[in-house]
Each structure stands twice: as structure tokens, then as C-alpha cells.
């Protein structure tokens, strides 16, 4: 009977422990529901049966309900064997913790000792198929103030759970050696059960998790774990990690004086790789520290930081209302961030399907961000000797230094400068920009931007960020730029003269740059007026340019010498209407070249005649070769004309006359000696025509035989 009394005392002691559970949560609802130790503790001595050699003790508990866990149907049975050894069998139908249920749990203890103050099982097995595939060797020791359960599922894996308590304090410690993460996946938050959320697939952890409490509840918690070979993945593999090693330390302490919790967490990323579309994160020695206080209404972050090796350190702090998540205050400071690594690891993956997909960025940056009452209030970005280079060679800016402040409630002025750069191969010189920033608008009253040997004067530049992206506009003027420098920069046929002009309002609507008005340029001693100029997707894969161009009074001497075409004196007007370039190459236009009205010298060399006739047919050359005309170096002409309608890679040519005929006049002679040059090819493949022109212009001085 002494054993029975001991058991009853053990049960009483257990009831007291349940009462302590009340203090885990101060919520009244839980207090009301706290412990329902349902009815039946049917403790009955069934059998000291007829077979006195095999006595049996059995008791059952139907339900235990608490805010922390619930159990259904606990049955314990103690058998005494013939040799005097005792066996313990415990069966639990179900244990539920945080909506997760473990069913059919059994403890078999073949070496079981039961003393007045201690119950000990040294050779037991835990069968819990929801946790472990096969029975797990276990041992436990229980006294009136201590319970230790030791599980050794396999190999070096060991889980030791111990609870100590007395009238004032309790301590719970879970010590793990090489514990498999998969055992705990079911206890992770609900979101882990979402179909597409990554799930742990591999990993072990070792260390200690400790909870301490008193009669009022939890007073502190400490976690010190090292995680190894951690792996996770979602079903598609778009969010996955492999071979991750972490060290995790955390302390939570209740401060009774201030009625709040003081907490701190440290995570050291030792190795591993994570692909979280579109980011790929790897490397070693990344470190996260978060710390602060929690008073039940607000979560305060204090002096926390994230240190990413290769990139830099980000410090942050803030106050978040609990539980609605409203950011009351937040501040982030990043100093000396290495932009090269930041760009490669963080920015570029997000820019993969944009025009900035192939940016190379280097240099350093400081960044500050402040949020107040859920609204972004201040941002400050500083760039220190930053280089931005497009790998497709569309643009580049070198040695950028900038101080860019932004405030939600005020206008600020940014100071931006760069040493040099280029846009679409056109070199830009040193410039310093005082840029006004107001909300999401940028304003720049005036800017002188060195372009080659001239200056591009921008006036009234404004840009705004809208739901559809950036919009900007400006007007201005281009002071003389030498054509030699421009053509050299554009890597096209060298030309002489100057380029200058007035730039009316230019607008970018998120897709196209269009000129509102006409663009006027002075070149080859004549004028060029461009109407309806529009550049569609200027930085896209296939920029399109459309325009109508009217060139007037161009000096043919300058023009033909630029192209080594053979000397021609005179002046021409050229109309190019419905011009469309795709990827900077023409795909459509209606072009017409004709002699300018007025009085001027009109002479053309044999070389030029040969070259012109090569474009339109060989008839003229043959005529020259067969006649006395071959003795003259130059001829007079009355009129020059050429037409080309480009459609689907074919140039439909014509001459001075507008009507299409089988032949057409390219040069109408006048004076002495004079010559007419006729064209016979009406349809010429555009690429073939270009090839001919290139061949001609590469042969500096054609020989007339």
C-alpha cells in the first residue's frame, strides 16, 4: 500500500504542476479554461488477482486541457513480472499542442523502478509514429520536483528534456545533440503547412533551449543552437536553401520593474546558399543582431544591425505597434556599402527584365531611411566615386559623386556630379547638377552639359515618377559641335562642318522620347529641320526612331568630300519623310534629293559621275568610256535628283522626274561640257545599295579609263 500512496502523492504533485501552467498565460480566457482535469482519475487497484505472482496496477486519465496542451485518454499500467522486475506501459491517445496533434503515443518501460520518491525507467522505448519512424530508446527519471526524459532516436542524436520545479520556480531545459530538424517541422508556425511555402528537408541542430519561470509565469528564455546542413525548398525549387550552417543565440528576460521583456537575438551565417527568386545568397560570416524590448503593446528594436560580408553593415532601429504591425518609428543607416557586390547580389536580379539588366556598378554608397507613423519621411543617398556602365555600351557615367536628400514634407536640393560618361556613344564631359527634389518631382532650371567640343544647354528640366514610371521633359540648345568629333564618336563616316541647333520641348512619356516642335540643326553649311521626331524605347532592345527631315541648301562640296564620293560642287535639298529606324538602321522612308534653287557653281567630277551611275546603272560610265568625254575631268550640270522609297529592304529608286519610268535622270547636264546621267535600276536591295556605297566611298579616287 505504500506504493499506492506514493502514486497518489505523485498524482497530487502532478496536479500542482498543472496549476503552475496557469501562469504561462495571463489571458483571462485561458485562466477560465485553464485546467480541466476531466473527471475521471479512476485509480483502482485491479489486480492483486488470484495470481499473486503477477500483480498489476492500472490507472487512467480521460482528458487534460490547458492553454498550452491537451491530452486525450492516458492509460498507465504497471506489471510485476515473475522475477520481481516491473514493467510500465503508458498509452496516450492524443497530445495536442498549438493545433498540432500527435496520436497513439506509447511508452514501454521494461526496466522500471518505482520508489517512494522516485520513478525511474532505464530501458524504455517511446513509440510516436508522428515523430519517429521507429521506436526510440528512452529513459526517464521522475521525482516530486524533477523530471528528466532522455531520448536517443539514432546514432549520435539525443534529445534530453528536463523539468525542475519547487514551490517558487520552475525550469525547463531541452538539450539537443545532432537533432534532426525534420522532427520539429510540424511545430513550426502555420505558414509552413501552406502548400507552396518552403519546407525543411534536411538539417540538424545542437544546443540548449531553456525556459525559466516562477509562480507568475515565464521569467526568461535562452536559446543557444548551432544548425548544420540545413536544407529547405518549396515544390518548384524557386525558394530553396542548401548546406546552411548557422549559429543562433537568443535571450529573453522579463523585467518586472519596467513591466516589459528585454530580448536579443544573434544569428551568424557560417555557410550555405539560398536561392529566393530572383536572389541568390551565399558566402560566409554574415551576421544579424536584433535586440530591444517588448511591453505587450509595442515592439522596440534597438541598435540592431545586419552585416553582410562583401557588401557592408546596415544598422536599424524602430518601434512597431503590436499586434497590428503599424511602424511607429523606423530608421535604417547603411555606411560604406560596396555597390559592386550590392548590385550583383541584390539589385541586378530585380532588373533582369528591364533595360538596366546589364549594369555594372562600382564604388561606395551611404544610405539613410526614416519612417514615421507608417510613412516614409526622409531618405538620404550619398555616392562616392561611383561608376555606372551599361555592358551593352548604351551609356556610362564615371566618378559619380552625389549627395541626394529627400524629405516628404520639404523641397531639397541634391548635389550630383560626374567626371565623364557617354550616352549612345556620344561623350559627355564633367558636370555638376544642383537638382531640386520635391515629393516625386525633380527640377533643374538650367544645366550646361559638355557634349564633345560643344555644350548642350538644358532648360527647365523636370522629371516625375508616376504609376507608369518616370516622365521627364526639357528644352534647350546645342552650341556648335564639330561633325568630325561627332562622327568619330558615333563610329560612322567622317564628316566636316558643325552641328548646332535649337532644341524645343523634349518629352519622355515612359515609352517614347518625342520632340514637341521642330529640331533645328546647322550642318554642311545648310540647315536641317526635323519634324515629328520620336524615339520609341530608346534604351530597349530595339529602339525605333521616326521623323520627317528637311535639309536645305547643303554644300555638296562638304558633303561629298566627307564621303569620298568624288568632287561635286553645288547645293542640294534633301527631304526624308516617314523615316523609321529600327535599332538605328532604316527600315522605311521616302527620300528625295534635288538641287537647291538659286545661283551657284554646279560642277561634277568624272569620279562622282561614275559613283552615282554605279548606284543607278552602268550606262553613264559606258557612255563616258566610249566618247571624248573621258578627256574631261569635270562637267557642268543643271540639276541633280534622286529618289528612294524604302519598303521591306527594297529601295524603289527614281530621279529628277517624279513619274516612274523604265529609266530616270539622275543628272541633267548644262553648260560645257555637260553630261546626262541616267539610272536604270528601279528596285535595289537596300543592303546591296549600302554595300555599293560603302565600296565606293572606300575607293577614294575611282579611275576613269
Amino acid at each position: 500500500m505504500g506504493r499506492i500512496n506514493g502514486l497518489i502523492r505523485t498524482m497530487i504533485s502532478y496536479s500542482r504542476r498543472l496549476r503552475y501552467a496557469r501562469y504561462f498565460n495571463s489571458n483571462p480566457m485561458y485562466n477560465r479554461a485553464l485546467i480541466f482535469l476531466f473527471a475521471v482519475i479512476s485509480c483502482y487497484i485491479l489486480v492483486f488477482s488470484a495470481s499473486a505472482a503477477r500483480p498489476q496496477l492500472r490507472f487512467s486519465v480521460e482528458d487534460i486541457k490547458s492553454p498550452v496542451f491537451q491530452t486525450k485518454s492516458i492509460i498507465a499500467r504497471i506489471d510485476s513480472g515473475h522475477s520481481g522486475a516491473q514493467e510500465l506501459t503508458i498509452g496516450i491517445e492524443e497530445i495536442t499542442v498549438q493545433n498540432y496533434a500527435l496520436k497513439d503515443i506509447r511508452v514501454l518501460c521494461r526496466s522500471f523502478q518505482w520508489h517512494q520518491k522516485e520513478i525511474e525507467c532505464t530501458n524504455g522505448q517511446l513509440i510516436a509514429r508522428d515523430l519517429f519512424v521507429s521506436p526510440v530508446p528512452m529513459q526517464f527519471v521522475a521525482t516530486r520536483s524533477h523530471l528528466t526524459i532522455d531520448l536517443r532516436p539514432s546514432g549520435s542524436e539525443r534529445w534530453q528534456f528536463s523539468v525542475q520545479w519547487d514551490d517558487a520556480f520552475w525550469h525547463v531545459v531541452l538539450a539537443i545533440e545532432t537533432g534532426k530538424m525534420t522532427h520539429v517541422t510540424r511545430w513550426l508556425p502555420d505558414i509552413s503547412d501552406h502548400e507552396n511555402f518552403p519546407k525543411l528537408t534536411e538539417g540538424t541542430f545542437s544546443g540548449r533551449i531553456q525556459f525559466n519561470g516562477d509562480l507568475t509565469g515565464l521569467t526568461s528564455a535562452h536559446i543557444d543552437l548551432s544548425v548544420d546542413v540545413l536544407a529547405f525548398s518549396d515544390p518548384t525549387g524557386m525558394h530553396a536553401g542548401e548546406n546552411i550552417a548557422l549559429s543562433v543565440k537568443s535571450n529573453v528576460m522579463r523585467n518586472p520593474q519596467h513591466q516589459h521583456w528585454e530580448w536579443r537575438g544573434d544569428v551568424l551565417w557560417q555557410q550555405g546558399a539560398v536561392f529566393w527568386q530572383p536572389l541568390f545568397f551565399s558566402g560566409a560570416d554574415h551576421y544579424l543582431n536584433v535586440q530591444g524590448v517588448f511591453d505587450g503593446k509595442t515592439l522596440t528594436l534597438q541598435d540592431s544591425h545586419l552585416a553582410l560580408s562583401d557588401i557592408g553593415t546596415v544598422k536599424f532601429s524602430g518601434v512597431v505597434d503590436w499586434p497590428d504591425g503599424m511602424v511607429h518609428r523606423f530608421r535604417l543607416d547603411a555606411d560604406n556599402i560596396a555597390l559592386s557586390a550590392l548590385s550583383e547580389q541584390v539589385l541586378k536580379p530585380f532588373l533582369a527584365d528591364t533595360m538596366f539588366a546589364e549594369l555594372e556598378v562600382s564604388g561606395q554608397s551611404d544610405f539613410t531611411l526614416q519612417v514615421r507613423d507608417g510613412t516614409l519621411r526622409r531618405v538620404k543617398l550619398s555616392l562616392d566615386d561611383v561608376n555606372i556602365v551599361d555592358q551593352r555600351n548604351r551609356f556610362a557615367f564615371h566618378r559619380i559623386n552625389a549627395h541626394i536628400p529627400w524629405r516628404a514634407d520639404n523641397t531639397t536640393v541634391a548635389d550630383i556630379s560626374f567626371l565623364n560618361g557617354h550616352v549612345l556613344r556620344i561623350p559627355l564631359g564633367t558636370v555638376r547638377v544642383p537638382l531640386e527634389i520635391k515629393d516625386s518631382r525633380l527640377l533643374l532650371p538650367q544645366l550646361a552639359l559638355p557634349v564633345l567640343d560643344g555644350i548642350l544647354k538644358l532648360e527647365d528640366f523636370s522629371a516625375a515618377y508616376t504609376d507608369d514610371g518616370w516622365r521627364w521633359e526639357f528644352g534647350g540648345e546645342l552650341t556648335p559641335v564639330s561633325m568630325e568629333a561627332l562622327t568619330e564618336a558615333l563610329q560612322i563616316q567622317p564628316m566636316h562642318g558643325i552641328l548646332s541647333g535649337y532644341i524645343p520641348k523634349v518629352r519622355y512619356d515612359g515609352e517614347s522620347v518625342s520632340v514637341n516642335g521642330v529640331l533645328q540643326i546647322n550642318v554642311f553649311d545648310g540647315s536641317v529641320v526635323i519634324h515629328q521626331l520620336k524615339l520609341i524605347e530608346p534604351m530597349g532592345l530595339t529602339p525605333h526612331l521616326t521623323a520627317d527631315i528637311a535639309m536645305r541648301n547643303l554644300d555638296l562640296g562638304l558633303l561629298t568630300s566627307a564621303f569620298s564620293f568624288g568632287k561635286v560642287e553645288g547645293r542640294v535639298d534633301i527631304d526624308v519623310n516617314q523615316l523609321e529606324l529600327a535599332n538605328w538602321k532604316p527600315i522605311h522612308f521616302n527620300a528625295r534629293l534635288f538641287s537647291s534653287p538659286g545661283s551657284y557653281t554646279r560642277r561634277i567630277s568624272q569620279a562622282a559621275i561614275r559613283n552615282i551611275s554605279a548606284l543607278g546603272g552602268e550606262g553613264a560610265v559606258v557612255a563616258i568610256q566610249r566618247s571624248f568625254l573621258r578627256f574631261f575631268e569635270e562637267f557642268s550640270y543643271a540639276e541633280i535628283g534622286w529618289r528612294c522609297a524604302l519598303r521591306f529592304n527594297v529601295c524603289y529608286m527614281g530621279g529628277i522626274e517624279p513619274e516612274p519610268k523604265s529609266s530616270y535622270t539622275l543628272i541633267r547636264g548644262g553648260g560645257i561640257p555637260s553630261i546626262n546621267v541616267m539610272g536604270y535600276n528601279r528596285d535595289v536591295n537596300w543592303q546591296e545599295l549600302i554595300t555599293r556605297l560603302q565600296r565606293i566611298t572606300q575607293e577614294n579616287e575611282p579611275v576613269i579609263q
Binding site: 525548398s233 518548384t236 525549387g237 542548401e242 546558399a273 527568386q277 551565399s282 530595339t542
Partner: protein, 140 residues
Amino acid sequence: MVSRFYSVLLFMALMLAPLTGQAQEANLEINTPAIANIKQSMQNRHTQLVQYYTSGAVGLTQDGMVTMRDANAVPLAQRQAVNTLVAAENQDRAALYREIARANNHPEWESKIRATFGQRWTNLARPGWWYQAGGAWKQK
């Protein structure tokens, strides 16, 4: 070899059955410098992509694009690179359809052209490649 196969594939995609409905008159063989550039870019990339079509990591979508279908078929360290490859291919494909529509002087045909190409890429896919049909993935 792969490059040659791709040339044939691209050529056939451009040559096969005419567009239906509104875009019936569209000339898919049309060639402009921009289209030639895009095709060259796609052809160069195909040598890198073909292994991922074969492994099932990348599949062909109904709208004439490609997508990462099963990243698990790609080693973790290479997934970002394949992701970037897919994004670049889709940029080229979108530009190709847009350019063909523009070259036909009917930019509004882009979506029809895209759908037609989607069908053609699927028809021309090699055995074992994955494609989308009716919202579900199927293997040729």
C-alpha cells in the same frame, strides 16, 4: 549542331501555318535589321537553354514565352543564372513579336503573333520538352 538546329527551329517557326483571325495577313517571315539582331541573340542563347528544356527545368508557355518550370532540376548555385537566362530570352521573344507586328505596320497584332508563335514553338519542341497547354504542363 545545337545552333544549327535552332536556326532551323526559328526558321520553321517563322514559316509555318499562317496567322489566324485578325492577323491573317501578317508576314511572319519579314526581316528587318532589328528582327535579325533579335534572332541572332536568341540563337546564341539557345545553346545555353537547350539543356534546361531537355531536363524539364524550363518549359514553353502558351503565350510564346519560356518559364522556369522546375527549378529543382537545376543545381541551386545555377538557378539564378538560369532565371536570368529565362528573363533575357523572354525579353528577346517579346521584342521579336513586337518587331514583327511593327514591321507589318500593325503593332496591334502583337498578341496574335505571340499566340501563334506559342503554338509553333510547342509544335516544334523536341521529344521530352515540356510545354503548357490549357494551363497544365505536358511533355512531348
